[in-house]
Assembly symmetry: C2
Homo-oligomer: 476 residues x 2
C-alpha cells in the first residue's frame, strides 16, 4: 500500500463531527474534489454522546422532580411516582438514535469520498490514511475531543463512567460519585440525583458549572447542595473498597457503586502529526490558531472544532467548520470571519448561563454591574421555580452592555436575549426601551437593567423615547 | 355636602389600578398636592382577577397535564395523579392574596390623599366624588374595565362565571362552557380542561386566542381541538335546561353546569362624565386620545389604561400611567412619549404570541415572510413539547424585521427576543449574527430567520461578518 502513488485531492476534511460536517457544506461550494476521513463512529459528539442524550436525560429528571411541586399546586398522588431508570435510559437512547441518523448517513451519501480510518499528517499538504498517502491543497482538521480519565482510574473498569458510556448503561447503580463539577458534571449529577439516585459531586476547584462570578456561584451553590453532597476544593481520590469505590475529597468520603468522570475533554490531536507542520507547538502539542481563520501558521491547514480547545461548544464548532471551510477556498479573502458573542448555557436547575466575557476579564474601573434576585421573582413564584441571581455588566461611561452571568430559571432564554443585545452593542437604555410583558421572567432581567442603569451616567428619565404625538386616529 | 366649597388640588388620579398607580409615581415627582380616587376594591385588575391568578391556575393545570409525558420519559405512576380542584383554587387565591397586598396598602400609605368613592367629571378640571366637588389642574382618568356579560345571561345567576368570579369558587362543576375564545377564553378553557373538567369552547368568530395570521391559526386550532370541543363561527346561545345550561353554537350543543363568559372587557367610562368635557365622543362614549400623550383634546385631562381600549395589557397600562403622569406635569413638553413595539402573549400550550402589527396590517407587496415548523423541533421533541408554527415578516428591500406571530413552546421568550429586534429596527442579518446555542428552541426561530433571508435581497453569504484576523494570542 505505502508504495502506491499519493492520492491527489483538493481538500481533505479529517473528522466528520459537527465542525467537519459544517466545513463540508462550505467546501462543496468550491469543489467536489474532496475527501472526508473519519476515525470510528460516524456520529457527532453532540448527537451521540453530548448535547442531545444529556438533554434527554435532563428532561426526564426535571419532569420527575416537578412532582415535589404537585402538592402545593393542588395535585395529589405524587408519592406514587417512580423513575424507572432502565426505561429512562432506553428513551434517552431512542432519542439519541434519531439524532445520530444524519451524521451516520454521511458515508452512504458521500460514497468513495468518505473514508473510514485514522488520518496522520505527514507535513503541510500531505497525510496518510490506512497506509495511503494523500496530497491535498487544503486540509481541515476537525478530529474532536474525548473525555479525560486519569490512567490509574481505568483499573476500576466499567465502574468508571464517562458521557461516552453513561447513556449506554441498561441500568444504573444506586450510589454514584460525579468527579468534575463543570457544566457536564453538574448537569449529570443533578439529573441523576433528581432521578432518585444517591449522588455526590467532587471537584478540585471551588466553582460549579464553570461559574466565574463569585456572587452567582454563592447563589447557585446552596441550590445544588440541597440535592446532593458536594465536595469541592480538593482533588478527589478513588480507592477500591471491595464492591464499592471509596471516593474521598474535600470535607468527606462517599462510597460509590460507580464514578462518573467529568473532569474535562482532551483534544484528539495526539497522533495527528501536527509536529510535521514545522510550526511551534505548546506543551500540549497544540499549534497557535487564529479564531477568525482557524488557520495553522500561514498554511492551508486548519484546526477547527473542539480539537483546538478555543470554545468547545456545538454552535462554536459549527461556526468553526464554516469558517475553516470558507478560508480553505482557493479564492478566500485574507480576512477571517468575526466570532460571535460568547454564550454558554448549563442545563441545570436553575440554569446557568454566561454571555460575553467572564466578569474576571472585565475592567473593574470602567464597569458597572446590576443584579436581580430571582428568589422572589413573581412569575417564578407562581411556577414554583423562584431561585437564583442574574448579574449584568456594562461600560459605566456609555451604558453599553458587556456581559452577563446568571443562575436563574429559563436562563437559556434570557441569555439569548442578552446575547443579541451584546452582539449588537446595545446600551442599558436600548434594552429598557423594549416591551416587557407581565408576568414574565424577563421582568427579572429588567430589574437587573434598572439596577444597572443607576450606575450609568447616560441613563435616566423615561424608558420611552420622546415622540411627537401620533395623531388622534391611532385610537379609532 | 354639595354646598361645600370645591376642594382644590393640583392633580386627581381616578382609579388606583395598574395605570393609576403608575401615574401616581410620576405625579409625585412634581407635586404632593394630589388625590387618588378609587371605586371599590383597592387592588389592580392584574393582581386581583387578571394576569396573576390566571397564571397560577395555568401553572397548576400545565403541571398536571405533563403527567401525560411521564410514561414516555420512563416515569411510572402518572395514572395515580389527581387534580384536587378545591386545592388548586385555594392555591390560586393564596398566590393572589400575596400579589394584591401592594395595591391594597395604597390607602394606608396615602392617608387622606386616598379617597374611596366613585368619581364623576363635571367638566374640564372639575369632578365630584362622594358629593364633594373637586377642582384640579390636571385629571388622570384610569378607571379600568370589567368583563362583559350580556344582560339576559345574568338570569343564570352564579352559573355564569367571569374572571371576576372564577377564582373565587371553592370548587368547579364538571361541565364548563367557555364563551369567547380570545386570549383569556383560550387560556382558561385549556387550563380547566387540563385539570380534568369537561370543557367546550364557543366563539362567534373563527379565530382563537386573538390570532391574526391564518397559517398560525391553522397550526394552533387542532392542538386546542384535541383537548376540548370547539364551536367557532357562530354566536353561542344559552338556554336553561333544568339544572344545566344548554349552550348551542357552531356545529353543536353542550350541556354545561356553568358558563365562563370571556367575550371581552368593557371600559369603565359609563357614568364617568366624559360628556361634560365638550369634546366629540364616539358611539361608545369614547373620546379620541393620542397614544403618545393619552390626552383628551387639548385639556389637562388624560384617559389611560384599559379604559381607553387602546392596548388593554398590564405592561401597556403601566406605560400609559407613566405617560399620563409625565404629560400632566406643569412643565411637560409638548411631545409625547413613543409607544413600545406591540407585544402580546397568550399563556396557552403551546403559547401564542405576536410582536409588532398583525400580518393583516402589513403591506403584502413589500413584505416577505419566513416560517418555522416546531412540530419537529429537536429540543422540543426531547421535551415532548414539539408543536406549532412561528412566522416572521420583514421588509423585502431592507430585510428589516417588522412583525412575528407564533404558536410555539416558550413563545413568551422567543417573542421578547423578537420584540427587542423589532424595537431596535434590526434586520434579518442582524439577528442571524447572534449566537444560537444548541439544543434550544431559539434554533427554531433561526430556521424562520433563514427562511425569511431567502426572500430578502440584502442577505446572503455568511452569518458572520468579515473580520480581520484576531491575532494568534487569542487561543493561548
Amino acid at each position: 500500500m505505502q508504495t502506491n502513488k499519493p492520492i491527489k485531492v483538493d481538500t481533505v476534511i479529517v473528522g466528520a463531527g459537527s465542525a467537519g460536517l459544517s466545513a463540508l457544506r462550505e467546501v462543496r461550494r468550491y469543489t467536489d474534489d474532496f475527501l472526508v476521513v473519519n476515525d470510528g463512529h460516524w456520529g457527532t459528539t453532540c448527537a451521540a454522546v453530548g448535547c442531545m442524550p444529556s438533554k434527554a436525560l435532563i428532561e426526564a429528571a426535571h419532569a420527575f422532580h416537578r412532582r415535589l411541586t404537585f402538592e402545593e399546586f393542588g395535585i395529589q398522588g405524587a408519592e406514587g411516582l417512580r423513575a424507572n431508570i432502565p426505561a429512562v435510559l432506553a428513551r434517552v437512547r431512542r432519542m439519541r438514535d434519531g439524532f445520530v441518523k444524519g451524521p451516520e448517513s454521511v458515508p452512504d451519501k458521500l460514497g468513495d469520498r468518505a473514508v473510514s480510518g485514522r488520518a496522520r499528517l505527514l507535513g503541510p499538504g500531505r497525510l496518510e490514511v490506512n497506509g495511503d498517502e494523500i496530497e491535498a491543497r487544503a486540509i481541515i482538521l476537525t478530529p474532536g475531543s474525548r473525555p479525560v480519565v486519569p490512567g490509574p482510574w481505568r483499573t476500576f473498569g466499567d465502574r468508571i463512567l464517562t458521557t461516552d458510556s453513561l447513556f449506554e448503561q441498561d441500568d444504573l447503580p444506586r450510589r454514584i460519585a460525579v468527579v468534575g463539577m463543570g457544566a457536564i458534571g453538574v448537569e449529570m449529577a443533578q439529573a441523576l440525583a433528581r432521578l432518585g439516585l444517591d449522588v455526590a459531586g467532587f471537584d478540585a476547584a471551588e466553582t460549579l458549572a464553570g461559574i466565574d462570578d463569585r456572587q452567582v456561584l454563592e447563589a447557585f451553590r446552596p441550590l445544588i447542595e440541597a440535592e446532593m453532597g458536594l465536595h469541592t476544593g480538593a482533588s478527589a481520590e478513588l480507592e477500591d473498597a471491595g464492591g464499592t469505590i471509596r471516593v474521598s475529597g474535600a470535607g468527606g468520603v462517599f462510597k460509590a457503586d460507580a464514578v462518573l468522570v467529568a473532569i474535562g475533554r482532551r483534544p484528539n490531536i495526539d497522533g495527528l502529526g501536527l509536529d510535521t507542520l514545522g510550526v511551534p507547538l505548546d506543551d500540549k502539542g497544540m499549534p497557535r490558531i487564529d479564531p477568525a481563520t482557524l488557520r495553522i501558521g500561514e498554511m492551508q491547514v486548519f484546526l477547527a472544532g473542539d480539537a483546538n480547545g478555543y470554545r468547545p461548544l456545538l454552535h462554536e464548532s459549527a461556526d468553526e467548520g464554516h469558517i475553516a471551510g470558507r478560508m480553505a477556498a482557493p479564492d478566500a479573502s485574507d480576512h477571517g470571519l468575526c466570532r460571535r458573542t460568547a454564550l454558554s448555557i448549563v442545563f441545570s436547575s436553575p440554569q446557568v448561563a454566561r454571555v460575553g466575557p467572564p466578569l474576571s476579564d472585565l475592567d473593574e474601573d470602567t464597569t458597572v454591574s446590576g443584579n436581580a434576585d430571582f428568589s422572589d421573582q413573581p412569575r417564578a413564584r407562581i411556577a414554583q421555580t423562584a431561585a437564583g441571581l442574574l448579574r449584568l455588566h456594562a461600560e459605566r461611561e456609555t451604558g453599553r452592555l458587556l456581559a452577563a452571568e446568571m443562575c436563574v430559571p429559563a436562563a437559556e432564554h434570557l441569555a439569548h436575549l442578552l446575547a443579541l443585545a451584546v452582539e449588537r452593542q446595545m446600551t442599558v437604555a436600548d434594552m429598557l426601551a423594549m416591551p416587557f410583558y407581565h408576568p414574565v421572567l424577563e421582568e427579572g432581567l429588567r430589574s437587573a437593567l434598572r439596577d444597572l442603569a443607576k450606575g450609568v451616567a447616560a441613563v435616566g428619565g423615561s424608558d420611552l423615547s420622546d415622540c411627537k404625538p401620533m395623531g388622534h386616529d391611532a385610537l379609532d
